[in-house]
């Protein structure tokens, strides 16, 4: 390789290295802001903001969903298997909302520690399987648990 090309190659590598380092530092600095949601543990520990809306993500605890008969009010417990937070919501839940499923709710924390959600989004995990396989697993006693690692941290 002649010296001119070598110099150009070094410039290209330098651009990649420089931009990479700068981006890494910037992302590290904004780590908090890049998190789409807080976990119930963080909320219980008081790491979530109290003066503004934020998102909370976790698994809907089995058997915790209570629906009001007259209106669309619903309450359920969100957990990351370490801590839990009760969420209350009024509105239509997404298709994928069910017990044991991961969800992300947007809203704010009330003084009594209940999270009042304005919006509930279902979070799908990375598992895909046919209904028959899921049924067979269930029958065999292997409960297919939601395995999103973020919420089981």
């Amino acid at each position: 390789m002649n010296p001119k090309r070598k110099k150009l190659l070094m410039i290209v590598l330098f651009i990649l290295l420089g931009v990479g380092t700068a981006t890494t530092l910037a992302l590290k600095a904004f780590q908090e802001n890049l998190m789409y949601f807080f976990s119930p543990s963080q909320v219980v520990k008081g790491e979530a903001p109290t003066n503004r809306n934020f998102r909370i993500g976790g698994l809907v605890t089995r058997g915790s969903v209570k629906r009001n008969q007259q209106d669309l009010k619903v309450s359920f417990v969100l957990t990351d298997t370490i801590s839990s937070v009760t969420v209350s919501y009024e509105g239509i839940l997404p298709d994928l909302f069910r017990e044991g499923q991961g969800i992300v709710a947007n809203g704010s924390l009330r003084a009594d520690g209940v999270f009042v959600a304005d919006e509930v989004l279902a979070k799908h995990d990375e598992n895909y399987m046919p209904t028959e396989v899921a049924d067979a697993l269930e029958k065999a006693g292997v409960k297919h648990e939601y395995t999103d690692k973020h919420q089981l941290k």
Binding site: V12, Q101, D125, E126, Y128, M129, A134
Partner: protein
């Protein structure tokens, strides 16, 4: 090896190579697409949670993969053009951008259509979606830059630098779902342990990815061939080529 690369890098040999390769890649893409679509619509069973709506992954996942893969091609071709000043690599880089932008757009659109019924939102500003949107802007910026500069050499050089700076976004897109909490689900196929997708659902997905790959290579080669002809229009071999065409006179 070097001799072969140098030979390939000459516009004329590239032109010959494309003439031979492109039709086969096109045919392969067509056949794979028919098999893949049949597989994804009929062979693959419905998902236990998402039902039939999960089938959108057969377009969404290959498009998203291609959007990143094409960007890497663009950046590598751009760097090669910058360092070795090969005309073919500039032509390839220039041809990659519109294709990459289309696949990015397709990935964003299909994801959005799936997001509304499944998540409950068309769009959320989580790390994965935002970084993929930035990728679309990078492509559009590259295209705008190319058309803003008249001189081909200058345009190729400016574009290559933009492409190289943007490369940092590719690992961010890929690892966004691992590094941060996102609404978008984590990786299914590229996990280190066994893929968490049923084999009957995985096979059509892999066929679709292969189809998209062949489609991309066929198109990018044909587009690059056109670029080459335009670039080399005053060279002897192009003139001769035109004269060989029946019914042509220059």
């Amino acid at each position: 090896m070097w001799e072969w690369i140098i030979k390939f890098a000459s516009p004329m040999h590239f032109y010959m190579l494309v003439n031979r390769l492109a039709p086969w890649l096109g045919r392969a893409a067509g056949v794979l697409l028919v098999i893949g679509l049949y597989g994804s619509l009929f062979y693959a069973p419905a998902d236990y949670q998402q039902g039939e709506s999960f089938r959108i992954i057969y377009v969404h996942v290959p498009s998203a993969w291609m959007s990143m893969f094409i960007y890497m091609n663009l950046a590598v071709a751009g760097a090669a053009g910058l360092i070795w000043k090969t005309k073919v690599s500039d032509a390839i880089a220039r041809s990659c951008a519109p294709l990459g932008a289309s696949f990015t757009f397709l990935a964003l659109t299909t994801g959005s259509l799936w997001g509304k019924p499944m998540w409950g939102a068309w769009w959320v500003w989580d790390a994965r979606l935002t970084s993929e949107l930035i990728l679309l802007f990078l492509y559009l910026g590259y295209i705008a830059l190319q058309s803003a500069i008249d001189d081909r050499r200058m345009a190729a050089r400016a574009g290559a630098i933009l492409a190289l700076v943007g490369v940092v976004n590719i690992p961010i897109i890929h690892y966004s779902v691992i590094w941060w909490n996102t609404l978008h689900q984590g990786p299914t196929i590229s996990k280190l342990d066994a893929p968490s997708i049923d084999t009957m659902m995985l096979i059509p997905l892999l066929i679709m990815i292969a189809a998209f790959m062949c489609y991309f290579f066929a198109l990018v080669l044909v587009r690059a061939r056109l670029e080459i002809i335009e670039q080399e229009r005053s060279s002897k071999w192009v003139q001769e080529l035109v004269l060989q065409q029946p019914g042509q006179s220059v």
